[in-house]
């Protein structure tokens, strides 16, 4: 279970704007006739516009992962545009590190008896790559990223109306993303993702949005398999934007074995892993 949890990526952090007031066109009569472009504009407007979002060059999120009742571990996630990522997870006095520097996905797992960092197998690396690319969410610049996005209108989910978007990622994963009708913030995602050859249905609740610099960031993501009573929650306790990050932190330390067979996960695109597939 733990091993799987460590491999599991953090859910994409939807990054949204300062604007907490409902924006003008979010009136019911007009919502009914909104187009995909308008809904995405609302979402991007909530991002603070492309400019503020693009100004985010690095980020560090410090928080905890709850893997089940009573089981939680401290997590630090660092990110650098466009696709570098590093995860440090503290367990039983050791730190497990997974990272991707844009070319190589690697991990150092002293707790698994490892004495040196190792390159990750492709399917594990892909998850990291997808997570790195998904920090700002798949809706931002979706065309450039090769995704398909379709607006399906307003639909209720868990009792709350949302703008429903069908998103097919370049890698084939399928998501329904619900944006709240007042602000355009993501609050629910239903996912159909391929994990180890199986299609897994999962659902994610997104919330606890807070201001961080010029942006608003969801501080809580809880994912579970559809039908399960509970799942896995990532709670951010501290979010920092444009912190100084040493570029070297993303690269596999030199002590690691030489790269033999090319790169990992270079096919990875924006995507969120929906659910772990058990251990």
């Amino acid at each position: 279970m733990l091993r799987n949890t460590i491999r599991r990526p953090l859910f994409a952090l939807a990054v949204l704007s300062l604007s907490m007031a409902p924006i003008a066109f979010a009136q019911e009569a007009e919502m009914a006739t909104m187009t995909l472009e308008e809904v995405l504009a609302m979402n991007l407007e909530a991002h603070g516009g492309a400019e503020n979002l693009a100004a985010m060059k690095t980020a560090r999120f410090t928080g905890k992962m709850t893997m089940g009742p009573g089981m939680e571990v401290p997590v630090v996630m660092e990110w650098q545009r466009p696709n570098k990522i590093r995860l440090d997870i503290s367990i039983q006095g050791q730190t497990i590190t997974q990272a991707y520097d844009g070319e190589t996905a690697w991990a150092f797992m002293p707790i698994m008896g490892k004495t040196a960092p190792e390159k990750l197998p492709e399917d594990q690396g892909k998850i990291l790559v997808d997570t790195a690319a998904a920090i700002e969410g798949p809706l931002v610049n979706w065309k450039e990223k090769g995704h398909q996005v379709e607006y399906l209108g307003i639909e209720e989910v868990d009792g709350t109306d949302g703008h429903k978007l069908k998103v097919i990622l370049k890698n084939g994963d399928e998501h329904f993303i619900f944006l709240d009708t007042d602000y355009g913030l993501e609050f629910k995602q239903l996912s159909k993702t391929e994990m180890q050859g199986q299609m897994i249905d999962s659902e994610t609740d997104i919330g606890d949005y807070k201001e961080v610099g010029d942006l608003v960031i969801a501080h809580s993501m809880e994912s579970k398999a559809v039908g399960a009573p509970s799942g896995q929650a990532f709670t951010i306790e501290k979010a920092e934007i444009n912190v100084d990050l040493d570029e070297e932190r993303f690269s596999m330390p030199a002590a690691a074995p030489a790269d033999e067979d090319g790169e990992n996960g270079e096919d990875g695109e924006d995507g969120e892993d929906g659910e772990n597939s058990g251990s």
């Binding site: 907490m20 039983q92 006095g93 009792g159 609050f187 159909k192 809880e222």
Partner: protein
């Protein structure tokens, strides 16, 4: 259960800050399904006995994908050859009549709702549905009033051309029945074959080589509460040679008089050969070698004649026109073109599988691979139906009744359609409830099942038609305790589903209902009669022996003018209510010395409708609730009434928010305004005494709820569904505090039961994935709160403090609208362990001490924290 559990009490005494005043009983509380939000019902199965399968289909190019249509438990899909099945149709009626995969596009599947194996307990459909994404989403494609659909055929080369065999309504006349055709993918439909408003389509076969050639079996049939008729002048076999535009009745060689139900099949490998099993005075299998022009009677053995209305289907091996399967009481097969059949009745056994077969699929690419759907689930064979693997992941069990005992953990009991009576723990001892946790208690069709509170070694159960028995759990000994008429009494008439009732006031007092109310105080050894005949005793409703139509079908399923529901007042044991299947509600206030027939006081209900449930109020002796179910008379409305004056006057509690005819009503044991109603289309709740209702959707499909019981110690609602097994809503106490003030509050912490610390036993079984596994209640304290609106900005978290004020843990809050639940495992932080090269088994901390803990629910609004509610 014989568990040793380490138990410890942790008490939360939670009070809601936001709820400041008492509820006004008359206030209109607007609830909807989302009010109950994150309150989830937990299915405990079982799949060990599964349930009736009405239809199934698979695709030759992808035989690992199997679609199953349950009679009352929805549509299920497997993508791994039948190891794991998942439900894909939970938001719609669970009664399935037909499934057809589009041969040209296997992601497109048509589902005809409404089972056509029209036994007494069958459900109703709501039309024709289609998915184009493999079952993720469904669209209603029409025929919403057809009630039942027997078969769907999709053109082998044109996905837009589809024929539907609509059987129509069972208990009344209607015109939406016959053969329908679309050539535009279901946008528009033409009814191309119609006989009359009592005759529908029962089978539809297509010539796979020449799809313009179709054969349609038309069937005249009707049910009443007390009678069934199969057959009449409307029945007949018809053929089209122009793609179903026009039809001609086939007669040459077929029986000339009235016919009943007909099943028809084309031999795919030689389509000039057509088989038809035809119900008539001399029911037989007929064969045509000339595309239906002429027919020859070739077999009339029991293999092909048993219960024609229930088994009218015949399937030809896709690769051999002489190999013919006849699903029926057992699965029979002919290898000589129908001349002879093998089955257990002719000295050949097909193995240990549940009898009563309705659906069969043979892999066109491998005739050895056969899937059969029975009254007890799905079986798969890889050796041409000689040996079978049971599918253990289809929890479509059809419970009629449920009950519980007072063990810890308590056990659940219930009886099922054609699958006996069973018991199972509400909490499995190794952390889950799996198929093997279910113990069989009795056979046949099972109904009421009760642990005897006066001697917990006894369990009472029954099979159809009043066959009551008592089982000794410690030895398995079973004794027949069915009462028989005493001198001066008429022969007892027992319902198919005969009521057993335990006195809530006197342990060991047992009631049983024939046309008389009977009572035993010696574990069923002897019975006294407490009433005169409480039914109408209408001889017109006592025709069981003549029921069936062309083929007499005397199974006790049409027994009528019997007592169907009994309820002794928990407040006053001399007050006993009785409801009968022919419309009477009777009450005694003196323990049976005299009875009042209060039927006439119930307003706005047609006479003679089935009284499905009487619930004596647990709070007031003069108060009772009654549900009346008219579906067997073609009255599909919801009838729910309440009296507060021993039946002198009644008020309807039905509302437009309720869908489906009513089976059961329960009043909460603690909060009188909290009501639970089970209908054909799910569970409905009211928190204001029946003014407003909303469907409970949390984890519970739109399945028929036939019975419910509230556990007085655990405060659980045990739900018996007829098609999806048993569900439990663990700890319904939060529902008791849903006052107007709470419902209108931004956020309110709700009370819960005391939590018992439970640690599961170890398990060392590795059984693969082929068994259904149900979840236990969480090994955690459940913290429940309500919020009016979904939480979006700022923190939402639950903090747990010890009595001395020390913060023990912080739990991320659940965010949805309505009721939310989070789980505290009642543990301290994990121990610190030295850094090492392997993980220590120390992921969770020790359990906290028994005692009271304080809960803080913190919800920010974006402008700083707001402390909302505290518990102690």
């Amino acid at each position: 259960m014989r568990l040793t559990l380490r138990s410890l009490l942790v008490c939360f005494t939670v009070f809601a800050v936001a709820a400041t005043s008492a509820t006004s009983a008359n206030a209109a509380i607007k609830i909807d399904s989302n009010t109950f939000g994150g309150l989830q019902a937990r299915n405990i199965g079982s799949a060990t006995m599964s349930g009736r399968i009405a239809a199934l289909d698979a695709h030759a190019e992808d035989p690992l994908t199997i679609w199953v249509g349950s009679a009352t438990g929805g549509v299920w899909k497997s993508t791994d050859g039948g190891v794991i099945f998942r439900p894909v149709f939970d938001d719609h009626t669970q009664s399935i009549g037909a499934i057809r995969i589009d041969p040209s596009n296997p992601e497109t599947v048509w589902v005809g709702t409404g089972e056509t194996w029209t036994r007494n307990s069958t459900s109703v459909g709501t039309g024709l549905y289609r998915t184009t994404d493999g079952g993720d989403s469904w669209k209603l494609m029409g025929l919403a009033n057809s009630e039942r659909i027997a078969r769907i055929q999709v053109h082998p080369k044109d996905s837009d051309t589809v024929w539907v065999c609509a059987t129509g309504q069972l208990w009344s006349a209607n015109e939406e029945r016959g053969v329908y055709k679309t050539t535009d993918g279901g946008e528009t439909w033409q009814r191309t074959l119609y006989v009359n408003d009592g005759t529908g389509c029962a089978d539809l076969a297509i010539d796979p080589q020449e799809p313009d050639v179709l054969y349609a079996a038309m069937w005249q049939f009707r049910r009443a509460p007390d009678f069934f008729n199969s057959g009449g002048p409307g029945s007949g076999l018809h053929k089209s040679t122009d793609g179903g535009e026009t039809w001609t009745e086939l007669t040459q060689g077929l029986p000339s008089g009235d016919k009943g139900r007909i099943g028809v099949a084309v031999a795919p490998s030689r389509p000039n050969v057509v088989y038809a099993v035809v119900e008539s005075k001399e029911t037989a299998l007929y064969r045509s070698n000339d595309l239906g022009a002429s027919w020859e009677k070739i077999n009339s053995s029991f293999n092909v004649t048993a219960r024609p209305f229930y088994f009218a289907t015949v399937i030809v091996d896709p690769n051999d026109y002489k190999t013919v399967y006849k699903p029926g009481l057992t699965l029979s097969v002919s290898y000589d073109g129908g001349k002879s059949f093998t089955s257990p009745f002719s000295g050949f056994s097909f193995g240990n599988i549940h009898p009563d077969h309705h659906a069969l699929w043979i892999n066109p690419n491998n005739s050895n691979e056969v899937i059969v759907g029975s009254d007890g689930g799905v079986y798969i064979s890889y050796d041409q139906a000689h040996s079978w693997r049971f599918v253990g992941t289809l929890p479509v069990s059809q419970f009629y009744r449920v009950s519980f005992d007072m063990d810890f953990p308590y056990n659940v009991y219930g009886g099922l359609q054609d699958n006996g009576s069973w018991m199972a723990p509400s909490r499995g001892k190794t952390g889950t409830i799996s198929n093997r946790d279910w113990d069989n208690l009795n056979g046949g069709d099972g109904f009421f099942t009760f642990r005897d509170p006066a001697d917990d070694d006894y369990v009472y159960s029954e099979f159809q038609g009043g066959n009551l028995s008592r089982t000794r759990l410690s030895t398995g000994e079973q004794r027949d305790i069915r009462p028989y008429a005493k001198e001066g009494e008429e022969k007892y008439r027992f319902n198919w589903n005969t009521p057993i009732h335990l006195s809530p006031n006197e342990e060991g007092t047992l009631y049983y209902g024939s046309q008389y109310l009977l009572r035993s105080r010696d574990h069923g050894e002897s019975w006294v009669t407490l009433s005169p005949d409480l039914t109408t005793d209408d001889p017109q409703r006592q025709r069981q022996a003549e029921s069936g139509g062309i083929t007499i079908d005397n199974s006790t399923a049409e027994n009528n003018t019997t007592i169907y529901t009994i309820s002794e007042s928990p407040v006053d044991g001399k007050v006993i209510w009785v409801g009968t299947d022919d419309g009477n509600v009777q009450v005694t206030e003196n323990g049976g010395e005299s009875w009042d027939n209060v039927t006439g006081n119930i307003p706005d209900v047609p006479a003679g409708l089935w009284v499905s449930f009487v619930e004596a109020s647990p709070h007031d002796a003069a108060t009772a609730f009654v549900t009346i179910d008219g579906h067997r008379s073609g009255e599909m409305g919801t009838y729910l009434y309440k009296t507060t004056d021993f039946g002198a006057s009644w008020t309807s509690l039905a509302s437009d928010a309720i869908e489906g005819y009513a089976w059961v009503v329960r009043q909460d044991l603690v909060a009188p305004d909290l009501l639970f109603l089970g209908t054909e289309f799910g569970l409905y709740l009211s928190v204001d005494g029946g003014e407003n209702w909303a469907r409970f959707k949390g984890g519970l499909p739109k399945v028929a709820v036939h019975d419910m019981a509230i556990h007085p110690r655990e405060h659980d609602l045990v739900i018996g569904t007829h098609g999806r097994g048993i569900y439990i809503i663990d700890d319904l106490t939060p529902l008791r505090s849903l006052s107007t003030e709470v419902l209108e509050s931004t956020i309110t912490l709700l009370g819960g039961r005391e939590t018992v610390m439970v640690t599961s036993g170890a398990s060392f079984g590795f059984n693969g994935d082929a068994d259904y596994v149900a979840l236990n209640p969480p090994e955690a304290a459940v913290i429940t709160y309500y919020q009016k609106k979904r939480h979006l900005f700022g923190d939402l978290k639950v903090e747990v403090y010890a009595a001395d004020g020390e913060l023990i843990t912080t739990i991320p809050g659940s965010k949805r609208k309505g009721i939310n639940r989070v789980f505290w495992p009642m543990r301290l932080a994990p121990p610190k362990v030295p850094a090492a090269s392997s993980l220590a088994a120390a992921f969770v901390g020790p359990r906290v001490a028994e005692g009271n803990y304080k809960i803080k629910l913190q919800r920010e609004t974006g402008r700083g924290p707001t402390l909302i509610a505290l518990g102690r």
